[in-house]
Amino acid sequence: MTEDAEEKRNEKTGDLSYLEKATLLALDELNGEASPDEILEEGELDKKVKVMNAISWLKSKDMVAVEEEVKHYYKLVKKSAAKKDLPERKALKFLDKKAGKCSISTLKEESDLSKNEVGIALGWLKDKDWAKIVKENGESFLEITKKGRNALKEKGRDEKLIKKLGKEEKLWEYEVDKYTIKKLLSRKEILSKNREVSRTVKLTEKGKKELEKGIELRLQINQLTPEIIRTGAWKEARLRPYDVKAYAPKKFGGKKHPVKREMDKVRRVFLEMGFTEMKYDVIQPAFWNFDALFSPQHHPARDLQDTFYMKEPRELELPEEKVERIKKVHEDGGDTRSKGWQYPWSKDEAKKAVLRTHTTVASIRYLSENPEPPVKAFSVDWNYRSEKPDPTHLSEFVQIEGIVMEKNASMNMLIGMMKEFYLKMGFEDIKVRPSYFPFTEPSLEVFAKWKDDYLEMGGAGVFRREVLEPHGIDYPVIAWGLGLERLVMLRLGWDDIRECYSNDIETLREYPL
């Protein structure tokens, strides 16, 4: 920070800068009144310009008053003048050599006076009454006077002054004789008259009070360096205080992706409740994605416009031991007391490879591998729907899925579970309403209160017998799912679901944790 900038800052804070403090202290030493030069000499200051700046800042704060006085002084135009004789003195000496009298033409021809000096010499010889001009036989002669003879012994006042100026360089108005000065000034190129403003700085009452408060003067340091620390210089110095309100740009470190953070939170919630994480591939046979979940093969959700089918791999192997049972359940309900969907079930249709449309596929696969209670399992993973992305839809999205199988699982337990789960996810108030899913009955929709509204959060239900029976599961299973992105959007105040995966670096750096 420059001193000016520092001063600007201090204007706001009311602090005194180092220079101001040093100036005040010096003035105090000088009995409250001094010139800037004296202050410079007395105080802990190194340059006059700094003193002058400090004085003007102090003046603006009413801590000092400055009196200005204009004084004149004289000095030689050419310093060499002090060592030379004036032209009239040269002429006087020449006249003395010629026994007190010689013609002007002789003076011109024989002396070392220049033609110009001869004229000056003649004028001043006459003015000072050192010689007089007499005419004989039509020729002008110079003849020394009594004053002239005396002048040979003692120099005139003007000459003495020149000599003094040669020694002292400058003489104030009050040091010189006005008459002599006037005479000398009338001559060209000998003397110059100059003016100087002299300032007297005086402490004001306010300045004195500031001093009474006590001023501690230490050397200021802007940047702490290894050198300063090593040498211990900081002990004698003061680290200059900064304006802590001054602007500094924000700095962000590495962060997890907001959706991943939410996934971690969901995992924590499930793990705390005793759930085990399940993970299955995103490419699944339609068998697991639809047929095993009692979605009939003519169901609109299985259309190409809703589900991504794979070109490679086109088909996947099915678990043969389950195929017959699933087929029966679809065609006539098998041993489940269900009427089934009553259509001819196609194994080829079931083999088709799809990108799973829901993580319920993980639930049913996990249950088929773990058919004995108790089971508590969850997944939070990608799912796919053949939809063009827009502010409320994605073709690829993350779903949270939880299942509980135990001997007494029921719709009432499902609702209890929903209250607990959503509470742990940060929703204190939920309500449930009827809903429909092909694989659960009863089914319900969970609405959670967010700000003032109940928002539709996700679905839940008790797995149908048609879903469980083919795997030999005799116990009730309750299941629920919800979209993960929705949670992220609520927490971050986003209204376009695509923001979740825009991976905008500014957002990734700056979103609140």
Partner: protein
């Protein structure tokens, strides 16, 4: 999910309820209120309850729920002598038809609109956009029975279709009529088209496309003839029942008709109710609440079933419009709805379980923690990708075509395959963030999907005005040390990296991944103007090869 628009005054009148009650009750019976625009209410009905796709159907359920009218709705039927002969020729094109005669219809403007709406919604839902069910509603006064359902050659017959005033043959209708253009695909590659004509050979309908102008319904119509043609007889019967009972709710008379397949005649509509048995214990077990027999009986009647108790079992009679009841469980759900979901207090699971993460979860966290320490920001990209970005833009010449998983019906060409590595996505991220401040450090840990396997990878990129191989090598060495892996490298040739500035990491002769400087050609492809260093590692291999 189907949404129907109903007139609120009409709904209030038919339900004999006030508005506040109605708004509270509708969601409780599975009808979501989508939007209220004055007296037009947009109501969403679940796809299993097509019987509620009309104001009449919703009102029927609401009256039950409010105990204003409980038990099985009774629909009287009368016999008519109208027959429809089905010619064998329709077997190949659209084999089944069901019919009904409805008299005394109230075609006030609201009633007509409701009927048209129901017809339209049934077409979309149960009818699967007319492929499974196409419905024709006719003014009976212009029809001379008996009726014949047959298939004809496209240019064998001409008639004036609805919305037109000139005769058109069947092909012309498919080519020129709006409805023809819309549904022509349903008759694609058929030699003959289905047609419904009366004894005078007047065309009632050209299903599933359009009706004839002759039998157009007008405000003066008081007797309807309804035909439904399709491919699934069971669904046709259900749809006919829904439509007829909805009309009967407005005091119309249902008259049965006969459809004859040769000598075999079937009487439609068949409003005979089905019975299903449920038992109290099962009901309590599924719902997890205690219910007395009396409670169950009352709740079922509220939901418009009729019930007869036999010891601890109930014989439940299902109304003829309920096409969704497949299993006793479906009836139990109705008991829950009648009980009101709000009245379930909820209990927590009783059995103790121990929660378990996926086995490498902790290791994944360590990987992430380490990278966050290097000030990387995590990104999350879609698994759906495309070959152009994965190979072409990355300058990869020897793509492993054998292993790429491809989508048959992508929504865009940017998502026609599944990603096999993470760096292309990360370079896309850099491209989309070109103007953000440097340095940019991004990483992703995510799944890649090959044709036969799915695995997890971790990859990262750093873009800075000055960055090079040594920087990424230092980082990798430190990173792997964090993960308790000794780094040993060998030169690697990789098309996406500058030659001589890419290294593979090897542990026990297994390549865990690679790192290096992205080649300027690839940078150019992604419109990047600063050097980028990158790494991509196989997470499972890292996990298995840690010390």
């Amino acid at each position: 999910m189907p949404v129907i628009s109903v007139n609120s005054d009409e709904l209030l009148e038919l339900t004999k309820a006030d508005q506040v009650t109605l708004l509270e009750v509708l969601p409780k019976i599975g009808v979501e209120i989508e939007e209220i625009k004055g007296d037009a209410w947009e109501l969403e009905v679940f796809p299993d309850r097509c019987d509620m796709l009309s104001v009449e159907g919703i009102a029927r359920s609401v009256r039950g729920f409010l105990n204003k009218e409980t038990g099985l709705p009774e629909y009287e039927t009368f016999e008519s002598d109208i027959t429809t002969d089905v010619d064998l020729s329709v077997q190949e094109v659209r084999p089944y038809i069901v019919t009904a005669l409805i008299k005394n219809v109230d075609l006030s403007s609201k009633g007509l609109k409701s009927l048209m709406d129901l017809q339209e919604k049934l077409h979309i839902t149960l009818g699967r956009n007319r492929s499974k069910v196409a419905i024709g509603v006719h003014d009976f006064s212009s029809i001379e029975p008996p009726i014949e359902y047959k298939a004809v050659k496209p240019d064998d017959m001409s008639f004036v279709p609805l919305e037109k005033s000139v005769e058109m043959n069947l092909d012309e209708i498919l080519e020129k009529h709006d409805k023809g253009k819309k549904y022509a695909h349903l008759l694609e590659e058929m030699q003959r088209y289905p047609l419904l004509v009366d004894s005078k050979d007047n065309v009632l309908s050209f299903p599933p496309i359009i009706n004839g102008k002759l039998t157009e319904v007008t405000p003066e119509t008081d007797t309807f003839f309804i035909d439904m043609t399709g491919t699934d007889m069971r669904v046709l019967e259900q749809t006919l029942n829904i439509m007829c009972t909805a009309l009967a709710e407005r005091n119309a008379e249902i008259h049965t008709t006969e459809v004859k397949y040769g000598s075999r005649g079937i009487i439609y509509p068949d409003l005979a109710e089905e019975d299903m048995e449920i038992d109290v214990e099962e009901c309590e077990k599924v719902l997890g609440i205690e219910l007395s027999s009396e409670d169950i009986k009352n709740l079922l009647e509220k939901m418009r079933f009729s019930v007869e108790q036999r010891e601890d079992k109930f014989e439940v009679t299902i109304p003829p419009y309920r096409h969704d009841i497949l299993h006793p469980r479906d009836i139990i759900e109705d008991i829950a709805i009648g009980y009101d979901y709000d009245n379930f207090e909820g209990v927590l699971p009783h059995e103790v379980t121990i929660g378990r993460s996926l086995p490498d979860k902790e290791f994944r966290e360590a990987v992430k923690e380490s990278l966050l320490g290097y000030e990387f920001n995590e990104v999350m990209n879609y698994i759906l990708s495309c070959e152009k970005i994965e190979y072409h833009d990355m300058e990869v010449k020897d793509m492993d075509q054998e292993n790429i998983a491809l989508v048959q019906n992508p929504v865009s060409e940017n998502s026609d395959s599944l990603r096999t590595w993470l760096l292309p996505g990360l370079l896309c991220n850099l491209m989309e963030n070109k103007t953000e401040s440097l340095p940019q450090r991004l990483f992703e840990m995510g799944d890649v999907v090959l044709k036969k396997e799915q695995k997890t990878k971790v990859a990262g990129v750093i873009k800075n005005s000055k960055i090079g191989f040594t920087d990424i090598k230092s980082l990798m060495d430190g990173f792997l040390t964090n993960l308790n892996i000794d780094m040993y490298v060998e030169p690697k040739k990789h098309d996406s990296f500058t030659e001589g500035r890419c290294a593979k990491i090897i542990v026990d002769e297994i390549e865990l991944g690679y790192f290096g400087e992205i080649s300027p050609k690839v940078l150019e492809n992604f419109e990047l103007e600063h050097p980028v260093v990158a790494f991509e590692l196989d997470l499972e291999s890292l996990y298995e090869n840690r010390r």
